[in-house]
Assembly symmetry: C2
Homo-oligomer: 295 residues x 2
């Protein structure tokens, strides 16, 4: 295991522990909901968005523990979005990270409600005093997450992605869809450490620009994995995007062209980190990792 892989694994473990603490549990009559929330969130995953929060915090000398609640909140929002995306009326996926999706393991109603409860929990976590003693910081986090995750962010992108199955997008349309669907949450995750640390606006802007390019590179490698990966390796059904006629950049540029584009975006991304010096090394390593990942 490389040093970076070990660091990523350590952060993922800490985030999992934090989420375990934050998720409700108990023997109330409605405990089946809590069971489904835990199944959804604690089922593994690379925890890349939480790592962005932690690595962004490093730049401003925040230690990992100070970033964990925000890291957990962004991962919980990511988890909710996957549960809803997997529903039969959306992408209709039975498998996620090699395990039955929530509507298969529980049922469709439970999957809808589990997503709803997780999204709500993320805001409850951010609003709590333990996230930051400064209420203005907590407010900026709530507002930032809501903008990134909502109708003019992630949910809008998902709507556009579904729409594109029957109304093919041009390249600009694909870029817009991807920016909304994954880019805005990646940008918020990257910026969140700066919000927590009350960084200057230009510093936060540099993190967002880094994230913008990283997000596009991430989406392209995701699409490449869908085309090239085996289901076993990727942990979910592959080749589904093409089967569904989904808009991907690969359909426009071909596999080699898409790979070159991802590498270019990765170089562009790290250029935005130059003036942070060595403190941004974790974010640089993450760029390399995203470009070369196999699942």
């Amino acid at each position: 295991m490389t040093d970076f892989a070990a660091k990523l694994a350590k952060a993922a473990k800490a985030v999992d522990q934090e989420m375990d603490n934050l998720l409700p549990h108990g023997q109330e009559l409605e405990h089946r909901l809590f069971d489904a929330m835990r199944y959804t969130v604690l089922g593994g995953g690379k925890r890349l968005r939480p790592f962005l929060v932690i690595a962004g915090g490093e730049i401003f000398d925040l230690d990992m523990a100070e970033c964990l609640r925000v890291a957990a909140a962004v991962e919980i929002v990511h988890a909710y979005s996957l549960v809803h995306d997997d529903l039969p009326c959306m992408d209709d996926d039975d498998l996620r990270r090699g395990q039955p999706t929530v509507h298969i393991k529980f049922d469709e109603a439970a999957a809808v409600l589990t997503g709803d409860a997780l999204l709500t929990l993320a805001f409850e976590i951010l609003a709590d005093r333990q996230t930051s003693p400064d209420p203005e910081v907590r407010m900026a986090l709530v507002a930032g997450l809501a903008r990134a995750a909502g109708g003019q962010g992630m949910v809008g992108g998902q709507m556009l992605d579904l729409w594109a199955e029957s109304h093919p997008l041009n390249e600009a349309g694909i870029a817009r869809m991807q920016r909304l669907k994954t880019g805005e949450m990646i940008a918020f995750s990257s910026e969140a450490g700066g919000i927590l640390a009350r960084a200057r606006p230009q510093q936060r802007q540099a993190l967002r620009m880094f994230a913008h390019d990283l997000g596009l590179a991430f989406q392209i490698t995701d699409d490449l994995l869908d085309v090239e990966g085996s289901a076993e390796q990727v942990g979910k059904a592959t080749g589904k995007d093409a089967a569904a006629g989904k808009a991907t950049i690969i359909a426009k540029l071909g596999v080699e062209g898409a790979r070159d584009r991802a590498a270019l975006l990765s170089r562009q991304a790290t250029a935005h980190l130059d003036h942070f010096g060595k403190k941004a090394n974790s974010l640089r390593d993450l760029c390399d990792f995203v470009l070369n990942r196999s699942n």
Copy 2:
């Protein structure tokens, strides 16, 4: 029209106008989502939860305009919950307020995403500086809404309600389900004016206790309307609870017993308002209205 009905109608109009301003619109590629959000929220309704916010604010001399953003946020959360409840995998309703439900008018995926976007928007509204200049107040609103709407509030109650179709609840279980499903949001709506006005804890507690009894009375009259109302009058399919074997208090107490219980709860509710004097008259009038409503 009585004075109270006129007041309720005036508040509903102001809330509708506020929501119209707060909802996204535009000709972006994802505008279909914005259309569905507007269809969902602006399709009418009594706006009882927003009225609770406004009437609660009156006690502390807040005028209606100061309460409208919070009023809009609670109604938007209510609207999201109806969209998800109406889905085929949940209550499977085709009709809401006499109009096609969102998954009928648009499609199921759009209904899931519309709910998600509305829930997220509610938090974005509360976190914004325009809601209150005091960030501690905004935080208390975000935290309160999240607790009331989430897995240990409304969503937990909905989960329990669905569960009860196959696992009948006893009377205590029904009370718990109703407190979670509708009571917590009604309590938050009632308390919200007090939060905005930085009322003392005991004052906020009195509002929550008022709301607790009001919420139970409201649920019973809802159940009575389901048993007795015609679909035309109520604006949605009736008799469905019994058909689905749903847990209602009527199954335990009978129609007359349930009606007596609602009247008792209404008297209990207003007793908590005694020390607010005349300033709580709108909340008292609302209690009468809830008890005697026909839809």
